[in-house]
């Protein structure tokens, strides 16, 4: 009987039953409290390599009084703790007209493990008017 063993390298993560994880929220919203626009939680036996998280927003229609506009992305460990990845808060209360407000943030990559989450939240404390939000994320989910 011949017993042999091979030291075979593990495939790269993108070759381990990888699927694209695409997240987005593209809508024009009236003033609202903090609202989770998307969330992705990693299933058992998987990992998620989050390649891009992007936030952009601008005022679509004029407010009667501009308040704080915010969008942020965070990770959640699945138990108790959320970690802010980045925050885009615009607290200028003088620009109520359409157009001038625009914030864009693009993150670097991070890895998310089973049971953990990535999510993005928006809010607008203005009175009347609307904000157009363009919130997105792109990652790769693969076998752990």
């Amino acid at each position: 009987m011949r017993v042999s063993s091979y030291a075979v390298a593990r495939p790269n993560y993108y070759d381990r039953n990888a699927t694209a994880t695409n997240l987005s929220y593209n809508d024009t919203a009236a003033p609202h409290g903090a609202t989770t626009r998307f969330i992705v939680t990693v299933a058992a036996g998987k990992k998620l390599y989050m390649e891009v998280l992007a936030i952009a927003y601008f005022r679509a229609t004029a407010a009667s009084a501009a308040g704080q506009q915010q969008a942020y992305s965070a990770s959640y460990d699945g138990v108790t703790e959320s970690v802010l990845l980045y925050d885009s808060t615009y607290n200028n209360t003088t620009l109520a007209g359409a157009g001038p407000l625009q914030r864009v943030v693009v993150s670097s990559a991070c890895t998310v493990y089973a049971g953990q989450s990535i999510y993005t939240v928006s809010s607008d404390g203005s009175t009347a008017g609307t904000i157009a939000f363009r919130l997105a994320g792109k990652g790769t989910t693969f076998d752990a």
Binding site: S24, F38, I39
Partner: protein
Amino acid sequence: MNIRLALIGGGTQPFRVDLPTYQGLVTNETTGRAFADVPAIDVSPDVAAFVAAYPTFDLVTPLPVPFPASLASSWAEFLARRYDLGEARWHPVVF
């Protein structure tokens, strides 16, 4: 698939629906309803059948039939198994 769900949160917690993964959340905080695009893999077949049987077109009109408690508990168990995290952390309700 697009599902109209009960909105949770408020106070110090963000408004959201009680699911592990969704996107494109559109809310009505007054009626407590929200549309969310939920991955088909996270929706149990019996819940998908209920959603197909009672389509919703706005965030105001109540469902003609309340979401059965048995479907709610089976969906929570379905999610707990898929994410295998030891407990039913999510309890989504079609609303």
